[in-house]
Assembly symmetry: C2
């Protein structure tokens, strides 16, 4: 390795290599070309300032959306990078947009930091960047700043993406894990476990074929429709790693309530159910990337369900249970056979790199 | 692997393991314990809301600092994790705080997303989190939201950290890479190349011992002092990957000016200089983590220098050159021996994982 500058004709044009090298993470011309060619050209928007180390956003313009800034970050390490229903780029946008939206925020801007393994095909990187750009555009958010690191072969597996989002919450919305009250109704917007099942099948090491696609989706439109109909929603959370079991446990603990769900009311695709039976998995713990758990006051439940069902991403929405004054933090499920079982926080190992 | 919940007594207490397992990334109880024990306890602040997927920040409170939100992200993959003068945690805070400050923003809040390799010692993780917390506290910023992923052994090298920062820029400050004008003076706040040299030595594969420490530092206080003295600063940039050569090239290109620096005026530690001579490195391309390149109008140069030198992190500040009306984008150095050489954008390979 040499870090002595070798004079070379300028303006040689953009990337002329097929694979990422460590030079693309060096801070020099190769990195600038990679960023311009792959990311800046895909993310193209007025706020992106590739010449600066920071994006600048007018506070007055943000304040027109509401009174509180929501700020959230997530790293995406999913394996494989491309899977039925999505890819790491789509996931990295949807996941962070959803984390903003479930708190009641209008998602507005994202940052994107990537760690790339030396040797990655530039075409793969382009496909991921295009997927991020298209997903962001559809969600109405702009990717306004970023960072690129390249590590030597073997120091990371292909690519990790961290997106950080900012959005704005309008006055009056008060959504939180500590706000559920006995009597509240628990809703979901559709069938559970599709993402986890799709990723497991896509890895191929289960030797199972399944037609299940990931439910990876931007839920901000669905959530906006729900909040327009029911501004008093108590709680929303996208049920990603750990599935709805984890979300319900977090809600029950933070609100100091019990939650009872009904197995018969819990929507699970037949394919996913069969897949879980064969592998001994519990679909309540399978990751989703397009499903939210919602708690609303009982008098709001019918309006909330109607609003969800009127949206393409909520057609299969249903009530799965209710909040009770039982033991604080306890989540239980009334089973198909009339029994009841505890739905505990996930204790053992989970599936690594599911998102 | 099983994702079926195994009922287990609750409130068992916190982490009882010495090393991170994939279960710590699963979204369940192990992950919650790891986050509570290692990160939440270290980062402790009023805005941190571990029960929610997002932090919420009052827009009116932000607007008291200025009129524009600055937003920046960086991934940190430095190897080794601990080095003379710093560690990946300190670096992940200082680097992002500095990226905010060089644009004129008051750094306020950070997010922190980590990707951890299975098998990492929990004590190492704690040391990194403590370092992040102490550095953030000293810089006056709060870490308000985060994310934790664990990948199987071999899928990443120990730990990668992505921090994203928000700050606010007060009205009237206009700092940018396109604002340098012929006649402007180029300043730096001290000796160059210490971070790059320290990391190279710390890796040990050069079989060189050197007393050089990384200059890794939070520069927000120094920058605030400079802006108080000279609000009309044209440009600031921390000279990280690619060194000052890269920053000067970016400035010259964006402002469509030429820049001439003087080798005799460019401050480099004798140890670093010797180290570079032995290895055939050019210190202008070595990374810094506590040095900024500044451009000011000629009439402001004396006041700017005095303000920098009055601060502990600017004691060795000096003028290293000037902006000229020469060929747009050209950076050159008048050498010790009376010649002149082009200082081009870094073209070849750089040192991977320097930050």
């Amino acid at each position: 390795m040499s870090i002595v500058a070798r004079p070379k004709p300028r303006n040689l044009g953009k990337l002329m290599v097929s694979h990422v090298t460590v030079a693309h993470g060096g801070g020099g011309k190769a990195m600038k070309d990679l960023i311009d060619d792959v990311f800046v050209s895909a993310f193209d928007n007025d706020l992106l300032a590739p010449l600066e180390d920071q994006a600048r956003l007018d506070l007055a313009a943000l304040a027109r959306h509401g009174d509180r800034l929501a700020f959230t970050t997530d790293g995406y390490v999913v394996d494989p990078l491309f899977f039925p229903g999505g890819d790491i780029g789509k996931l990295a946008i949807c996941g962070t947009v959803n984390d903003l939206a479930v708190g009641g925020a209008v998602p507005l801007h994202l940052s994107c930091a990537v760690v790339i393994e030396e040797g990655m095909a530039v075409e793969t990187l382009r496909a991921i960047a295009r997927s991020m750009a298209a997903t962001a555009r559809a969600a109405g958010v702009s990717i306004v700043t970023g960072d690129t690191k390249v590590v030597p072969r073997g120091a990371c597996d292909k690519i990790f993406i961290t997106t950080t989002g900012i959005g704005v919450i309008r006055p009056g919305l008060e959504i939180g894990a500590d706000r559920a009250r006995p009597g509240d109704i628990v809703l979901v917007n559709g069938r559970l476990g599709d993402h986890g099942a799709a990723i497991l099948c896509a890895r191929g090491d289960m030797a199972l074929q399944s037609p299940v696609e990931s439910d990876c989706a931007d839920l901000s439109g669905l959530i906006a429709a729900l909040l327009a109909a029911v501004p008093g929603v108590r709680f929303m959370r996208d049920a990603t790693r750990g599935g709805i079991a984890t979300v319900l446990n977090e809600l029950a603990a933070a609100s100091r309530v019990a939650i009872e769900i009904d197995e018969t009311a819990t929507p699970i695709d037949e394919g996913v159910r069969g897949f879980c039976e064969i592998l001994g998995l519990d679909p309540l713990y399978l990751a989703n990337e397009g499903k939210i758990v919602i708690a609303v006051a009982p008098e709001d439940a019918a309006v909330a369900l109607a609003a969800l069902r009127a949206h393409p991403l909520g057609r299969d929405a249903c009530a799965i249970g209710k909040v009770t004054a039982g033991e604080a933090g306890r989540v239980s499920m009334n089973t198909l056979f009339g029994g009841r079982r505890i739905v505990d926080m996930l204790v053992g190992e989970q599936l690594p790199r599911i998102c």
